[in-house]
Point group: none
DNA sequence: GTGGTCTAGACCACT
DNA sequence: GTGGTCTAGACCACC
């Protein structure tokens, strides 16, 4: 299981991890992210904290959330 | 008691109210906001939702939170 | 496990069952209903159908949904 | 109400009381302690003093604090 | 006492 | 079943 063990807030650590995965191509442009629950399981944190992190990236336009469908990496730069 | 009764999320409604109060001078530049708990009581919502709204305004630089002291309106434009 | 085996739509059967439980005092005025998931399990139906039934009773004012807290029987006649 | 009336600092008296309760099994291995607020009320001391005492026992590994959940007695010797 | 973070677990909209 | 919102109530850092 991936772990977040820094001193920073879990939300901010997760935000950084997702940004890295987008940059590295692990989460390609336009692709669908794992569900919030899957990310919560992967990192051993609550779904609420995951959605808080996703909210930051939605706010900044890096991710796009679609109710009932999923969360997607913004296709265009 | 002030009420938030729109269809928008409570967090976003509160964000808008605080922005209005800053613009109107009710919360002057550099002044300290009521505590999160006071705002929660005023609007009849949970402190968590208040801090979510404040987080948006911190993220955008409109407010500055200082642990143990309070939340302040950013002094300068 | 309770069962709904009539010819009517499951949603309407469940609506009727909940109304009976309110009338009988099994769900007293002002009390909190079981969660949607618990009701789904009790009757062996999908959570979606439960929320549909609850929506009917919210619409009619018989139930009151409170975000983050639960669904409650309307306290007063 | 329990009282701490020794000459030692309240924090150290409380630390000792908690150690005794762990040793006696009143706070079993792996169990959740009362909240800091409850302990403060029980002993008639400030929440700050309680968190200071808990910090000592976290530091020594006797207790484990879990954000959003509570403080727990370390399960294993 | 204040702000900030986090959890667990609700409801609800939408697919 | 997914995302999004909200509650209640923890711990913790700081003043």
């Amino acid at each position: 299981m991936a772990t977040l063990d820094g001193i920073e807030p879990l939300r901010d650590q997760l935000t950084a991890v997702i940004r890295e995965r987008i940059a590295s191509g692990e989460y390609p442009r336009g692709s669908k992210l794992p569900t919030a629950r899957e990310l919560a399981d992967e990192f051993g944190i609550s779904a609420r904290t995951v959605t808080d992190a996703l909210a930051v990236l939605r706010e900044s336009g890096e991710l796009i959330g679609v109710r009932g469908r999923g969360v997607f990496v913004r296709p265009t730069d």
